[in-house]
């Protein structure tokens, strides 16, 4: 069971700190949990694990494809591998290795692709990943997650540790807004209705959840009632929830830090179309463009990922 956090500010802890601490906690209980790094241990803080659990930390050097192959294969001997690198290298750069040595060979691999989409900020267009969900959604049996905050991330890491298969977790390294109450639990394959509403259904995930909630709150004041779903598991997708909650709505909006092609928006569109819903859908996200350098706030504006953009889309439709 989950509950929303009363404190809605920025979390004190960075997401990478939660990731590392959760892994260390798991390593304390299970010697088979391994953390692999490809020379970004300073960026992920995974390098600190070397001091706490030296046998559970594997430094691969700058060789992401090799890391995927090595890590996934340790699962043949019962290890539980987690790997980290920036999301472009955790997806585009290693897609075939994840496909074959990971998913197809039925090995286990937990992937932390950090700083997805506009979270790449100063690293710029070469490091921006608007297509990681697209790539991984299309590989059978791979599960794709975009946790909204530290609480959800911690729960997710613990949950996938007990599961076999390939899990891709895209998350910011830096601190994000609090969404959930400490100790909340979730379910893989289940979305969370984090705000009730009657006119519009807004589905989002990851770093945009707070933005979506803020937009919904402001729209409420204007007389438009918006229901918000945190769809942190993009695959497997909670189809039932979408079909149930879209009923009676005038508009469905998806809002994602990802290309509108084959991300959350596409996934929701597929469900709606298959059901012959006939309800209008607006897919908000990156309009099939490349990334670029700039601050997170600049990029949010540039790619139309602010609450103001959500409000505008909803207004335009509802007026």
């Amino acid at each position: 069971m989950w509950e929303l956090s009363k404190d809605t500010g920025l979390a004190e802890k960075e997401m990478r700190v939660t990731f590392r601490e959760t892994l260390e906690c798991l390593m304390g209980e299970n010697k088979k949990v391994l953390a692999f790094e490809a020379d970004l241990g300073g960026a992920s803080h995974f390098a600190k694990i070397k001091a706490t659990y030296p046998d559970n930390f594997v430094q691969m050097g700058i060789s992401e494809a090799n890391m995927v192959g090595v890590a996934a294969t340790t699962s043949m001997r019962g290890f539980v591998p987690f790997i980290h690198t920036f999301s472009p290298f955790a997806s585009r750069r290693v897609a075939d290795q994840v496909y074959l040595t990971g998913a197809y060979a039925q090995n286990t691999l937990n992937i932390f692709g950090s700083d997805p989409g506009i979270c790449a900020a100063a690293n710029g267009g070469t490091h921006t990943t608007f297509e990681d969900i697209a790539l991984y959604r299309a590989i059978p049996e791979v599960q794709v997650f975009a946790p909204a905050d530290n609480v959800q991330l911690e729960w997710l890491i613990k949950e996938v540790t007990n599961r076999k298969g390939v899990h891709y977790i895209r998350a910011n390294r830096k601190a994000v807004s609090r969404i959930y109450q400490e100790g909340s639990t979730f379910e893989i394959g289940k979305g969370n209705v984090i705000r009730q509403g009657t006119d519009v259904l807004l589905l989002t995930m990851g770093v945009l959840v707070r933005e979506a909630l803020d937009a919904a709150e402001e729209l409420e004041k204007e007389g438009i009632s918006v229901e918000v779903i945190d769809m942190f598991t993009i695959k497997p997708l909670d189809k039932e929830l979408i079909l149930r909650e879209m009923r009676g709505k005038k508009l469905v909006v998806t809002f994602e830090n990802h290309n509108i092609i084959n991300g959350l928006g596409s996934a929701v569109a597929e469900v709606m179309a298959d059901a012959g819903s006939g309800i209008p859908l607006k897919r908000m996200g990156v309009m099939d463009r490349f990334g670029q350098v700039g601050s997170f706030d600049f990029l949010k504006e540039e790619y139309g990922l602010t609450k103001a953009h959500v409000k505008h889309v909803v207004y335009e439709f509802m007026k």
Binding site: E37, D39, L40, G41, G42, A43, A47, Q59, M60, G61, I62, S63, A65, N66, P88, F89, R93, A122, N123, G124, G125, T126, H127, Q292, V293, G294, S295, F298, L299, E302
Partner: protein
Amino acid sequence: MDTEEVNELKVLSAKMRVELLKMLKRRTYGHLGGSMSIIEVLSTLYGKHLKHDPLNPNWDDRDYLVLSKGHSGPGLYAALAVNGYFEKEILGSLNEGGTSLPSHPDRILTPGIDATTGSLGQGTSVAAGLGYALRLEKASQYVYLIVGDGELNEGQCWEAFQFIAHNKLNHVIVLIDENKRQLDGFTVDILNPFDIQEKMIAFGFHTMKVDGGSELEISNAIDEAKKIEDQAVCIVLDTVKGQGIPYFEEMVDNHSVKFCEQDYQAVDHAIQKLQDFIQKAGA
């Protein structure tokens, strides 16, 4: 090269360091270590060996420079600005929204940039591709490839090297910045590279190793490399990460520095010293 020519290159290096430091100081952070260690090779290339025209960056007969270790973009931007590709003021826009100077080089955005890099390893194939195309065209120009020692962890580098060596692409001059460090620490501790020179020899390259802080040694090696006709060539640059400023050379983690108060002082001090040097040289 006579003493005067060497001194001119030293002044060029100093000018580039000044611009690099100012740029990162303004930004408050950046990839300092790996930018500093390529300053001498860049000044030797732009000041002497590279066939290029800042007023016509897309000149068809130019030599190409591929900075495969793309995170050292700021070092290259300093070189381009000092050599007249664009106004030095533009350096202040590094990483800002809408800039033509993103953290990693982008051939579509920046005059003088020939290769889009940042995903380590990929630039080696870019250099191989350029070299191969030029060979097909029977063109005479050179491709200079700068690759990091940590970057050599990437298998793609060795795929490209095999291709370059097999095809005897002697107009692709491979320059390895052996500063002995990568992001998480020393290369020997992360993934032991063993003897890079020996490795390159084993891969079929005519390989030299020189002091990467010496414009003279680098220049002489490039002269020698150009004499090699039926073999791939490689120059291993023995460098120091953070090269040229003891304070940063000694810094434990100087890969990407977020400046603190003490760092700013070191930057100011270094800029002052470099400017004095430039002034004394009468340039």
